[in-house]
Symmetry: C2
Subunit: 438 residues, 2 copies
């Protein structure tokens, strides 16, 4: 039984990458894993999609359900995406006793608890390294390399589209809309970019990482999620003047009895390694009690990097099969009976530093009014910059706060935005605490 | 058999860290691995060394050989260091059917081929994640996560002592000797720093990484190794002016029929992520045909980070034991019958860019003489900077070359150093090629 027979569902960008590696690097993989990985069937409704891959006659079919029902297939690789057909196919494959490899972060984040439970019952594995961070082995690192560590926190740049757009605004000063158009033109953003730019994709990934780091059930719905659509060149420029860059961060901290997990644009010091992660690249910093800080950095998406992660899952399953074992590593890192229901803190309860940009009329007494209200809510100001530049009759007044509670900030801003000298809704950007990496 | 009984040999810095994690995080590890890791015996000749660790009565002994002969012990953790007793103990443990975990890079690099062969015969594992990069999971990443990739190249900062010293010289302009004294004072360098500052420790690590990346037998002796003792603040300052920083790099490239593997100080562009790895931190960039570039970054040494890596090896062995399997991953990544004898290129045969600092008398015609000789050997100059600053009657003349062969550079410099207008041996520092990470 020195062969693992693979059925590939979905032959889009990543599917093509997987097929290509399985064909071109088959000898290499076998010389490492000691078992042959064979691509038995490729299914896609688009009959053009297998083009360019040197598939043998009869390998390409259009009916994915035939693959999950094929008794000869050992592992199904789901690369269709979405949460309906993909879920149905995976559950059917599991039911038929097949292992599954998927890159589908949305599906894992939303339905993983149910899917993993079913896989455990059936004695098969659902592997999903490719769902977070592309070729960066963040799931393996958390589940295996950091096994002796209490994970304290994680900070990630997990969406290449957002990072590309923010890098572009930072480098050229163009607007979000222009930068998005730019990203779409070169294939770094989808025609409908909502999933990426609104932070949902990052939230899916953070859900997965938080679960395996802290031993909690997957919980997407409680993660505060804010995207990058309201980031302006002006705020990026102010950030630069304060020594910060703006990134869409996935932030997650284990407080012991709750988890602070959230996705939002954040200012990060330009001396922090993550601030230098540019373009479509991804990175994630993890802090453990023994290891200290580890950072992984690489291509978080794209055809070959994602395919590389899929292959590593296939090889792990192949090695387990060769050894006659299953579920060597529990799907969510902790043994199923050790997974807790750890609540995620509502965003109102977090404390952090804030960048506030007020749009105020240029008259005496404005600063005093704003800072007076902030003071009433117990928010103390670390620095104030009032620039002369007028935008539409207002001047931007920028304040950086000391540590403040989100609830206090929101109450103070509701009041400030109501006074007559403030013309527009105040912009806030949270400031990520310093990683001490050096 | 849900328990793995561990015998720890050597209770120095890292040994204490391992003992502490095994005791303090025992529940955590069990809740992930599904098997209890028990510290049965700790052996050290220094009876004071177990102090401060909450060991039960009778756990601490002075005779390491009793541990490797104890039939109740499943895994021996070797943290004694050195290549004599440590080797003897490991081979005895293997002979007795015990698994071994070690952080001993010198031993693996020099005797690993023999040790792994013996372990395979005996059906036990020798795990060594902690030997390279401390808590960075570089060995797991190469052996498991990048299994589908042809690894093209690796560039690493793998010695915290050297990186600390070079960072110190860069930041403060003090001499190598002062920076070394500084590092020794705060425990970042040994009393005898030879192994670190001469590059030998880095060469041990590069030997290991090259073997598992390219599928070649461990081959330390052919790796060109040059340390940092001759790096001066002047060269660091010139480097800065050209947009470079100086790091001790482990460089390894797979040419297909040979491997270019070498350790030497190198200039690296300040836009490269590795140039921002400062202080005692480590990082390694790996380029694979599918994944593209991946960078791992973290604490490459120290009590807890190294202990964290030892624990991950112990957990892997525990999981295998729970499943009743051994050697799920081949020790050198490739199946033993697929390990090639791939030659390492002599340093003479490499081609790279060079920084040359000539110490010349300040007179007309000097530049023409030097560049004339370079030209005779086919070396073309990319840029020349002649600074006014005199050092002991000479002026430094700095040249950066286009791609040149090491053998040509050496022959040209031998001639140049012989002419009357050149006062001192010319300093060369190789320039690392650009990683295209962004």
């Amino acid at each position: 039984m020195h062969e693992l027979k693979i059925g590939l569902l979905g032959c889009g960008i990543v599917g093509k990458g997987v097929a290509n590696i399985l064909i071109q690097n088959q000898q290499l993989i076998q010389s490492r894993a000691g078992i042959r990985l064979t691509l038995k069937t490729v299914a896609d409704i688009d009959t053009e999609s297998g083009r360019g891959i040197p598939l043998d006659e009869g390998v390409f079919i259009t009916d994915a359900f035939k693959v999950v029902d094929d008794p000869e297939i050992d592992v199904v690789v789901e690369l269709i995406g979405g949460k309906t057909i993909a879920r149905e196919l995976i559950l059917k494959a599991v039911d038929n006793g097949k292992h599954v490899v998927t890159a589908n972060k949305a599906l894992i984040a939303e339905h993983g608890n149910e899917m993993f439970q079913k896989a455990l019952e059936k004695g098969v594995e659902i592997a999903y390294e490719a769902s977070v961070g592309g070729c960066m082995p963040i799931i393996k690192t958390l589940r295996e390399s950091l096994i002796g560590n209490h994970i304290h926190s994680m900070t990630g740049i997990l969406n290449g589209t957002c990072n590309y757009i923010l890098s572009k605004i930072t480098d050229t000063g163009i607007s979000f809309e222009e930068a998005l158009g730019n990203a779409q033109a070169i294939g770094f953003a989808e025609a409908d970019p909502t999933l990426d730019v609104e932070g949902f994709d990052t939230a899916h990934k953070l859900t997965i990482l938080s679960s395996i780091a802290y031993g909690m059930a997957l919980n997407l719905k409680d993660i505060y999620t804010e995207g990058i659509t309201r980031i302006t060149p002006m705020d990026i420029e102010f950030a630069r003047q304060f020594g910060y860059r703006i990134k869409l961060l996935a932030i997650s901290k284990n407080n012991g009895d709750s988890v602070d997990a959230r996705v939002h644009p954040a200012m990060i010091s330009d001396s922090n390694l993550l601030s230098n992660v540019n373009g479509s690249l991804n990175a994630v910093a993890v802090t453990g009690d023994a290891a200290g800080d580890i950072v992984l950095y690489g291509h978080g998406a794209g055809m070959m990097p994602t395919a590389s992660a899929v292959i590593s899952d296939l090889a792990d399953i192949a090695r387990n099969r060769l050894s006659g074992i299953k579920n060597r590593i529990p799907p969510l890192s902790f043994q199923p009976d050790h997974i807790k229901t750890l609540p995620i803190m509502p965003i109102d309860e977090i404390s952090t530093h804030y960048y506030c940009r007020f749009s105020a009329v240029d008259s005496p007494g404005v600063l005093s009014k704003i800072s007076g209200i902030l003071g009433q809510y117990g928010i103390s100001i670390k620095s104030v910059h009032q620039k002369g530049r007028k935008t539409k009759g207002s001047v931007p007044v920028v304040m950086l706060t000391h540590l403040a509670k989100e609830a206090d900030i929101q109450r103070a801003l509701a009041e400030i935005d109501g006074i007559d000298v403030v013309n527009e809704k105040t912009v806030i950007i949270r400031i990520a605490e310093e990683e001490e990496l050096e």
